[in-house]
């Protein structure tokens, strides 16, 4: 099933702290080059390239060539699909209340 494979690739791409950090970096500032992204990660250029390739395969990152540079953009469309398929469906006001309570308590502790 094509849909299942896509979903597997997507969740696998998200199941790594360095890749999630790359998504956060692109969320903060979109359209970065590989060099710019390497500055924030304590790993080889090759390592960052591999992570970006996996994110691109999962369609979480889109790349655009501009002259000799390759710019990386966060593509939020698959995350929206996860939200609709896996979160909105299970979301109940009670869960929201619990999550709000957790935030309030954690804030009070911090």
């Amino acid at each position: 099933m094509a849909e299942r494979r896509e979903t597997d690739v997507l969740f696998k791409a998200l199941a790594d702290p360095s890749r999630r950090k790359l998504l956060d970096l692109l969320h903060a500032h979109d359209g970065r080059t590989l060099n710019e992204l390497c500055e924030y990660l304590d790993m080889t250029r090759q390592g960052v390239t591999q992570h970006l390739d996996l994110l691109e395969a999962a369609n979480l990152v889109a790349t655009v060539r501009r002259g000799r540079e390759k710019l990386h953009f966060l593509n939020p469309v698959p995350l929206q699909e996860i939200y609709e398929r896996w979160i909105a469906k299970f979301e109940k006001p009670r869960l929201k209340a619990l999550s709000d309570l957790k935030h309030r308590l954690e804030k009070a502790n911090g």
């Binding site: 593509n75 929206q80 398929r85 006001p93």
Partner: protein, 154 residues
């Protein structure tokens, strides 16, 4: 020059012709765009406008390029909120590329300023619209009836 760009990509199991029709047909658009639709002749040089469910013109501009079913470029200016209108013209490029049994739809929305509240505003909408469009073309029904489902109590 400073520039703000957002890029959205989705792979939809359909044909470029069906996807092009879905992007340009008023009745079809309303189904996945929460009642909103775009009106145009969809040829280069023709005017373009986006009309909300209650008939307000939210955005307007013109078609810069139309190459069905491959490429569409819209000169796009917001009209409804004065502070977003003041940011001026943006450019939205839609590219359709067949890849195996699917079509890769890439939407690039650019404005020549940084930061841009207009780009921030559209960036919340595009993923929802594209996700709905994908569901509608692949399964015949949409997932999100309301663009802001978390805000409503059911």
């Amino acid at each position: 020059m400073a520039r703000s760009t957002f890029v959205y990509v989705t792979y939809i199991r359909t044909t470029p012709e069906k996807l092009w029709a879905a992007l340009t047909d008023v009745e079809y658009m309303k189904k996945y765009w929460f009642g909103t639709y775009c009106e145009s002749q969809w040829t280069a040089g023709s005017s373009w406008k986006m009309v909300s469910r209650d008939g307000q013109i939210f955005d307007s501009g013109e078609i810069l390029e139309a190459d069905p079913p491959r490429r569409l470029v819209i000169r796009w200016q917001h009209q409804n909120k004065p502070e977003l209108k003041a940011e001026g013209m943006s450019q939205c490029t839609m590219e359709l590329e067949p890849i195996g049994p699917a079509v890769k739809l890439s939407i690039t929305h650019t404005i020549e300023r940084e930061p841009s509240n207009f780009i921030v505003a559209v960036s919340g909408g595009w993923p929802k619209i594209l996700s709905n469009l994908k569901s509608l073309l692949e399964t015949g029904s949409i997932v999100l009836q309301d663009p802001y489902p978390t805000g409503s109590q059911r």
